[in-house]
Symmetry: C2
Amino acid sequence: DDLASQGGVQVRRSNKKPVVLVLGSGWAAHSCIKVIDTDACDVIVVSPRNHFCFTPMLPSTAVGTVEFRSLLEPIRVSNEFVGYLEADAEILDLESKTVTCSAVGAYESGYRPNFTVPYDMLVVAVGEQSATFGVPGVTEHCSFMKEVRDTVKIRRKLGETFELAALPGTSEEERRRLLHFVVVGGGPTGVEFSGTLSDYVRSDLRRKYPLLMPYVRVSLLQSAQGILTQFDSGLARRALDDLQRTGVEIRTGVRVIQVTDRQVVLKGGERMDYGLCVWSCGNAPRPLVKSLIDSLPEQNGSKLAVDPFLRVIGATDVLAMGDCSAIVNAPLPATAQVAAQQGSYLAHMINKGYVIGTGGMDSVPPA
Amino acid sequence: DDLASQGGVQVRRSNKKPVVLVLGSGWAAHSCIKVIDTDACDVIVVSPRNHFCFTPMLPSTAVGTVEFRSLLEPIRVSNEFVGYLEADAEILDLESKTVTCSAVGAYESGYRPNFTVPYDMLVVAVGEQSATFGVPGVTEHCSFMKEVRDTVKIRRKLGETFELAALPGTSEEERRRLLHFVVVGGGPTGVEFSGTLSDYVRSDLRRKYPLLMPYVRVSLLQSAQGILTQFDSGLARRALDDLQRTGVEIRTGVRVIQVTDRQVVLKGGERMDYGLCVWSCGNAPRPLVKSLIDSLPEQNGSKLAVDPFLRVIGATDVLAMGDCSAIVNAPLPATAQVAAQQGSYLAHMINKGYVIGTGGMDSVPPA
């Protein structure tokens, strides 16, 4: 067809096989394409990221304990019979069963190719994005802990702040600012990263920058009264003790209301100078998911409501899994384990030739 | 002193030890600081690059065969008793025996700290920079093969061109352009890299992008009539055969007169579309070396003329080694081996307490 002749990929290899279009390349999507039977269907993956990332070790790559490439598997290698397109899925048309996509890469002229992919079955597994809660300056000035490109930036920035701080032309005050590392958010990511960072800057870098050690500070800011509030309180207390022993200064009950290029502003007016600010305050829905939810009268949450067969309620031939979804009346934790299990469950279901049809708690199970 | 109290480093740890200021962190400087006795002198290294790089394997990092960090040794680890400052040395004052430096990193405001380092003995080991011969567009549009940051960029760019080329929204013509890789310069670096690149894009990437293989081309452009002209002709012929067998299209006797964002323009008017252009046409002196040569009446070449003791001719207490220097009447090849041997020779000489004094073929040897 047209797309196949235009592109290096064949979107539909024959007219007999159904096209399964998977959006995303995280835990759920990766596990799905590892299991799916490409003899029975044409599988196309659209994602801005051409690799799967083993996220639990992401914080360690920011300080160099683990090399970036050790965490990555190219999607084209995960399953070489799957078609992969490096693009953002921008518009879902449930009527015509097509998704309009825009390339991640651009030509020298700035032009980004865009194209439309038809599907017979759509799998939404795009995860979530970092929540900023509309706090001004976060997007511009903070680092995140979500993708390898985030930790690449953090690693470079850590090197730069120490080298700048070590120069004779740097004032005492600037040195103190540059070496103050602030982590905002006391959930699992913020706790893991602030501990890793404190270990690194106080222990590993001691040999390289012995004279700078008195200036180094790592602060963890948390708006609730405790850290790791979603876990058992004994476990949270142990984590708190461990973090403090590592030299992390923990401040609970503080709310960040603005981030400038060099200061974190707290509710109440306090301003903290910083050299690096990492923002890890939970997740929010991606625009694509939000617009899909808004377009379906049956949906009204911040995640796609699915039935126990992962069918999106109110949509036809659309499935969702991983962090962007929630099973109605039986929500599961937003973890890698759940997403990976859903991915392989869905692939097995598709391999058995299920006809998905319309999703909904009252709809009949897929045939 | 002032510098010590301002900065995290102590430029002069006591008033008794002489300060040896080394400019550079390449083969010569690295080998020198490995051997130099920091009990006898205070050693300060100023270089924009805070690591030594094992340059012979640089082309392999561009395609991922070797990981970047495997080639690097932080200067602060090479010798932890040496003071290191990440900065460009900008102004040498031979009268007052000081070097004025500007930080590589900048504050958020854009301000770069600058400072002056006094020396008793100055060692210039800054190497050379890529020669562009004033060809318009080279600096803006070409990649180089000199530093790890260059090959990081090439690796990212290679990934981007293949992903863009694989999209259905990319035209046949653009696909052909994106996957044409042009290497300019038929010396050792260009020959090594074009072969490595051709192997990678035709063999390693075949599994990931089978449908794109018909579009892939690697061209090596050389202005002379043969490649590797500085080597024995039998060896050059063998290299030529090997390269062609790897699938590199070699064009000799062509001169590049301009590079645009997507075309290489040859003398005669031919224009070649490209997706990635790597420029490796030899080296030229760095501005600092050029200004030092211009300031000394005894100097007139493109490298710093030194006597057999590596003393810069016409200067007092200034030494030079590696690619930025040439021994009068006994020039040595500009190789890693020569630079490393000069570095350790110089360190041994300094360790023996030599008083360097004025350099020159007629001057007395150092005491």
